[in-house]
Amino acid sequence: MEKEKKIEYIKEKGISKLVLEHENHKLERNKQLEHYEDVMYQCGKCGTCRTIFKEAGWERVCPSGEFGGFEAFYLGGKNLLTWGITSGQIKWTEYLAKIFYQCSVCLACTQQCQIPEIHHYAGEWLMAMREEAVRLGFGPMSEQKRYTEHIMKENNPYLEKHENRLDWLPSNIKQSPDAKLLYFVGCTTSYREQNVAIATAEILNSLQIEFKILKDEYCCGSPVYMTGQTQKAKKIAEKNIEIFKDSGIEKIITSCAGCYRTLKDTYPKKFGLDHGIEVIHLPEFLLDKLNSGTLKFNNQINMKITYHDPCHIGRHMGIYETPREILKKIPGIELVEMIRNRHNAWCCGSGGGVRSAFKDLSAFAANERIEEAKKTSAKAIVSCCPFCLNQFKTHIKNNEIKAFDISELVRKVI
């Protein structure tokens, strides 16, 4: 593919990198709006960010734009509205904030833009605009405020009780109280996709890995951070790090793409909380064990599947191949790709606070992805994020296709 020649993935950086010979404008990430105010207006409202650039039939990539219709809902519109704000041409309004929140921050758009500064950094000012909205009292959206309050009280956004967090934990799971390895389960897995938690814990047990699960596990803060509430999210992070340190944790495995990104990237790079704890995503851990021969697949699953790249490990963290490599090694599995895959994957529509505040957009995005998966004739969509999984399960009709987490498949074949 023509574009592949020009692209390399920056490890743990979050996004692919357009390899340009003359990259003379390097910016820092995770800064406030002012830091980017001399770049976003390079945008020409050209619309390149609406479709896959030069690949895959120029398919559409932006859920927010395709749903919202007007240019304001695409990245180009958001860039120029941001310029409108920084240059004083327009004013903050509730509607403006709504435009910025009606976006899953999936970053499919940035991958297509051919202006280097926008390609690399637009995700930063999409987040900075949310922060600004919060600072000025226009954000977050009311549903997001409600879940944030609940997180502050009960440590999860699902309006569930904290004391029920470990209800999923079967008595047969063996933990090691002195382990330095933590399985960080996360809110969605704990309360909504408990199969993922059980499968993960059972895999760890079968590998005889010494690990523990915290009785006092709290939300990682991702839903708070992603909706622009940086200060509140930072407080959550500080509390979590304190708990990790008190529990002697040196390494964290998580089966959630959102928790992974938050613990590994957001804590140190955005909040400046350098916790020094190694954070790995379950597929990374599994592939390592497979390659070293510790993990063996003894059974078979005869099924055609397709893999959905979660935004939080794909475009946000640059992990595309690890889960695919595992899936391909499962005996009997035939992996087929959707047209939009890897850095071009269509978002499931649950991230960035969209699922709580913009239900129609969220359903639109999920249905579009489910239809795309069905076109491959796969029998199941497999992902490695409980939020994506839950989104698919909620929107799949009449059992037309199944949805699994990678941990569930691996659990079946060991």
């Binding site: 390079q42 020409g44 409202k45 619309g47 390149t48 240019e71 509205l81 310029w83 409108g84 041409q89």
Partner: protein, 470 residues
């Protein structure tokens, strides 16, 4: 203008979701966000989904005598889709369907808002043996406006301007009536504009001031299996151009032929204007880069064509060698961003091939006077019958002073090249249109005005733009 009343009538046509009078939505239509042209004003934006809806919108606009501006992506480099007198911007992005491809007669019938990405994607998936002529504009820009505004495609040597790629149209007139132009007006086939009176001219070159095209048939071309692109490098434009002209007339299967100076080459290589040498000629750097693509059906035919091309170059002492195909079209990064300020504009003209070198040298001098690297580009069209010549400039659109200088610079280039007989600017901003009136016979200008009046009696179609209106 009573916006809320109009909005509620428009909502009945397209649904609430697709009409907006919100300032945040309007903001994205009030300026083209690339050029140094002044901002305009959008009162209402609407996104129709069918020709019938477009008709209803135009009827409502007539009732309230409010302007209607057809719009696909609004980045045509002449600011000709910027609403100059307020009113309703009709954003055609939902009219994005490729309705039919006729492989025998090689055309595609597309809706008025189809983008290059839509068309290319559709052909790649469904008709991989056919290709459309493609611009260098971004994939999100419109095919129909490019054809209507004499756009310039990578198959220009075969087919001429975008207007010549048009086989037929369905148009909503300024009155709201729907008409068809070309063979499609009498049959189900859209193979051409012959043999009825060619009404296409009522909409080509009018910058959306006579009607809104809701469907258009555009010519497609076969993909031939043998293709080579050559790159020629020469010291100066004046040495390279005659050779390219000779090649264009030699009948060697050439489907595209164009040449640029060093400034243009640097701008498309993602360099920063601030870092490049302003006057390559003075610094003895090569300043002529020619590209041509030849194609053939058989290997033998192709070999013979290539040999002849190489022989002409050798004979003319022009260095030329095969290169990777650079014409794989659609957008060379963001060529409006050479100055890293998101601002760009050009004086782009059709002209006689006799004047290419003069056009370049005159505009070059002005750019250098302003301390800007000249960026020149010329494409030979339709078997070498005429050409496009264009000088680009870039600036920081966030800096009012730079915008002021850019306007002055553009005006100066325009005024100088207009003195060359035969230079006629395409997609001209309103300030440049006056030149047409000054040059044409009064009776021609008068006829143009009368046609405009007939098709758009209330002068609501994109007022303040194009040659026909005020």
């Amino acid at each position: 203008m009573n916006n809320s009343k109009i909005v509620s009538e428009l909502e009945k046509v397209v649904g609430e979701k697709y009409v907006s009078a919100q300032p945040e939505i309007q903001f994205l239509y009030h300026y083209d966000f690339i050029t140094a042209e002044p901002e305009g004003k959008c009162d209402i934006a609407i996104i129709p989904n069918s020709a019938e809806e477009v008709q209803e919108i135009v009827k409502i606009a007539n009732k309230y005598k409010t302007p209607v501006v057809p719009w696909v992506s609004g980045i045509n480099f002449g600011s000709i889709a910027t609403p100059r007198k307020g009113g309703i911007v009709v954003d055609l992005r939902r009219l994005n369907r490729v309705i039919e491809v006729n492989e025998d007669d090689m055309y595609a019938v597309i809706e008025g808002g189809v983008t290059w990405a839509d068309l290319k994607g559709y052909l790649e998936k469904n008709h991989p043996d056919l290709r459309a002529g493609i611009t260098w504009s971004p994939p999100g820009t419109g095919v129909v406006p490019a054809c209507l505004c004499y756009g310039m495609f990578d198959l220009g040597m075969l087919g001429g301007t975008g207007a010549e790629f048009i086989n037929g149209m369905e148009v909503v007139l300024g009155s709201g009536d729907l008409i068809k132009v070309g063979s499609c007006s009498l049959s189900n086939y859209w193979y051409g504009r012959q043999p009825l009176p060619d009404l296409a001219g009522l909409f080509i070159g009018w910058e959306g001031t006579t009607g809104i095209v809701t469907k258009m048939a555009v010519k497609l071309w076969p993909k031939l299996p043998y293709r080579t692109t050559y790159l020629a490098i020469g010291a100066k434009m004046k040495f390279g151009v005659p050779v390219m002209l000779k090649l264009s007339k030699a009948g060697l299967g050439i489907c595209d032929i164009y040449f640029v100076n060093l400034g243009w080459l640097q701008s498309v290589q993602e360099l920063n204007e601030k870092d490049v040498i302003k006057d390559p000629v003075k610094n003895k750097m090569p300043d002529f880069f020619g590209l041509l693509t030849t194609q053939a059906y058989t290997e033998k035919q192709h070999k013979a064509q290539c040999e002849a091309i190489e022989a002409i170059c050798t004979e003319s002492k022009l260095r030329m060698r095969p290169t990777e195909e650079t014409q794989a079209p659609i957008q060379l990064w963001g060529c409006w961003n050479f100055a890293r300020g998101g601002g760009g504009q050009w004086i782009g003209s059709y002209c006689s091939t006799r004047d290419i070198v003069k056009y370049y040298e005159q505009s070059r001098e002005i750019c250098i006077k302003y301390g800007r690297p000249p960026q020149f580009y010329s494409r030979l069209m339709f078997g070498g019958h005429y050409c496009v010549a264009r000088t680009n400039i870039n600036f920081n659109k966030n800096d009012p002073n730079e915008i002021k200088i850019a306007r002055k610079l553009l005006k100066e280039i325009h005024d100088v090249v207009q003195e060359l007989d035969g230079v006629v600017m395409y997609k001209p901003p309103k300030w440049a249109v006056q030149t047409y009136h000054d040059k044409t016979l009064p009776a021609t200008s008068d006829l143009i005005r009368k046609i405009k009046q007939l098709l758009d009696p209330n002068n609501i179609m994109n007022p303040g733009q194009g040659i026909g209106g005020d």
